[in-house]
């Protein structure tokens, strides 16, 4: 029985949404839908990545993303090892490249890396044979977050094309917004971003979104509202005068949510600052899909690992 050439991911790594084509994004989302079913089974495990080793190199603190990757890895029967930034050689002044080379000497199949400096996964991918997955590099990209956001929207609203998605918050420092803008507009959605002018990066429209300063303008009639976490102080610089002022102008309150379409989804990549960028009534309300995002995160990461474990060639006979 001959098999038509199956769609696949080009390249050995997932460094961002930017290099992905719409069909590749579609493939990941379709595969993730199947992976989600594994969570419904009595035995939540399949042997697809048995014998593969995954190293989680989390050089920027994160509990939930790391957990999510670990769970995805274990559900695929891979061997999973996690390194976080405290108490490792990194803090003894070892360079990123040396850390990674030492890890590679132990031959992991995958390295999942989160790092505070943009471009770090790219560095590793150039030098190492392992498949590199970007779990967040500085303010650049967080591709699996955008993928799980898209999966959540698709499952709830049936599609991505033609939707209006509003993303609100500290755009300057957010890798989540960059990955989401790239993915959503590539899949045919309209993205409206909003944030205080001091936190809008230069020429953001060039990424393919509308830029607003007033949150109300972005939310009006939207199908989805995604709120970003705000950090008032970063590296000793005040980005915004006070919490109260931020809440007054940029928080998602029940009143503001009414400006969106009925049934508009409320999303947040987490962790939330309740009472700062999002009101608890909205976060816990009926339109919130924030917890589904977390569940879908495992499925998406399973899909990415599964698809990257592939190569080129013909499948064998039945």
């Amino acid at each position: 029985m001959s098999v038509a050439p199956a769609p696949r991911l080009r390249g050995k790594d997932l460094l961002g949404i930017d290099p992905l084509t719409a069909p590749e994004i579609q493939l990941i989302l379709d595969t993730a839908d199947e992976m989600a079913k594994i969570a419904e089974r009595p035995i939540k495990k399949v042997p697809a990545l048995r014998g593969k080793t995954v190293v989680n190199l989390f050089l920027e603190p994160s509990t939930r993303t790391r957990f999510s990757f670990e769970m995805a890895e274990k559900r695929l029967s891979a061997d999973s090892l996690s390194f976080s930034s405290s108490g490792t050689s990194v803090e003894k002044g070892e360079t990123l490249l040396d850390t990674a080379r030492n890890l590679e000497a132990m031959q992991p199949d995958f390295i999942v890396i989160r790092h505070r400096y943009a471009g770090s996964p790219h560095r590793l991918a150039k030098v190492l044979r392992s498949s590199v997955i970007n779990a967040g590099d500085g303010a650049h990209e967080h591709p699996t977050q955008a993928l799980l956001d898209a999966m959540t929207i698709r499952r709830r609203l049936g599609r991505l094309e033609g939707l209006v998605v509003a993303i609100v918050g500290d755009l300057e420092h957010s890798r989540v917004v960059r990955s989401n803008v790239l993915l959503l507009q590539r899949m045919g959605a309209t993205v409206r971003v909003a944030g205080p002018p001091s936190l809008v990066p230069a020429q953001m429209e060039a990424m393919g979104c509308e830029v607003h300063h007033r949150m109300e303008d972005a939310i009006a009639g939207a199908d989805v509202v995604m709120m970003l976490r705000i950090q008032l102080e970063r590296q000793g610089r005040m980005n915004f005068p006070t919490v109260r002022e931020y809440y007054d102008f940029f928080a998602l309150t029940p009143e503001r949510l009414r400006l969106a379409k009925r049934g508009c989804l409320v999303m947040h990549p987490g962790p939330m600052n309740r009472g700062v960028e999002i009101d608890s009534r909205v976060a816990d309300g009926p339109q919130s899909v924030i917890l589904e995002q977390v569940t879908n995160g495992v499925a998406v990461r399973m899909a990415v690992l599964y698809l990257l474990a592939g190569g080129n060639g013909e499948p064998t006979a039945d």
Binding site: T95, G119, A139, R178, A206
Partner: protein, 430 residues
Amino acid sequence: MSRLLIKHARVIDPSQRLDEGLDVLAVDGRIARLAERIEERGAEVIDAAGLVATPGFIDVHTHLREPGFEYKETIASGAAAALAGGFTAVCCMPNTSPVNDTAAVTEFIRKRAEEAGAARVYPIGAVSKGLAGEELAEMGEMVRAGAVAVSDDGQPVRHAYLLRRALEYSLLFGIPVVDHCEDPTLSAGGVMHEGAVSTRLGLRGIPAAAEEVMVARDVTLAGLTGARLHIAHLSTRQSLEWVRRAKNQGLSVSCEVTPHHLALTDAAVSESSYDTNFKMNPPLRSADHVAALLEGVLDGTVDCLATDHAPHHADEKALEFDLAPFGVVGLETAVPVTYDLLVRQHKLPLARFVALWSTNPARLFSLPGGTLKVGSVADLTLLDTEARLPVNPDRFVSRSRNTPFAGRRLRGWPVATILAGKVVWRRERR
């Protein structure tokens, strides 16, 4: 008596409006004759048929790293790299360790350069003690020891009042004050040009305004003091506008532009996937700024080209983009990169090209050379305008290899460098 005869070259010397096939005779290190057919017995003869002969090229902005950072470059290796790049002289910046803010360090640099016996090295002294930007350094003593200008390069002269004092004081010695124009409060944390590319890459940007506000300030102070101001590595459209305006007003303001700011845009950071060989300060700018710089070169607003040769060790550049130091080497690529871009692509007359690399630098910094008038020092650069060769960092004479031009196939390579009538460097046949 030593004699050198260069035959059959196309001799280009803007200082004499010369552009013709001539023979050049140098005797005891000085230009003796320029004529169509010279015969001179006992002279060493160079057949320069098919080559261009110009007054030796001068790079007014390099970092030789010695004293203090010899692992990146030394005066000897840097001066040798200069020769290999077709330069007979360089000016070196004071951000060494210790800083060149006294006659003693200036003297040290000159001595080391003499010992090396490679390209001529003219030190640029610091404006402020320790480059701290607070108190003026001993300008006069440094000039006596051989400094040809002052600068705090690596950083700006932070306080306007100090720049004013430096400009005024410099009038006593007739030297230019070179400023690295950057407002640190606007550029803080930035690692590349602020624009669509930095946004997409998630890197903090350095806005063009960070340079422009300082250029505006400096030009105003040049007007106030009547002194000579030279803007280092100018990189934006508005900066150029300020310089144009200053010149129109008759101020003694000059500026230099680097090869990389003409040949590359900020897109290179994205296309190379965060390669730190594209990280320098000022950063590579967007296409609009680059277009303005090219216009400025073509219309004469830009006085000279300069490399801002900034060697760094491979380990330092192997860090993440945010952490790697700013800077790229330039001595061994500057001439072919700019020849290829300006003369071949943009049809800049060859005489103007020579003026940008030799005549004008010599004039602006009052250096010997920059001319082939009879009696002047016999420093010459011989160029091959035809052979197309790739940039090969592994063969660099410099100690460092941090170049953005690796692998580029270019024309306009130097084939020999002549210092005081002696051939001190020749390109090997491959």
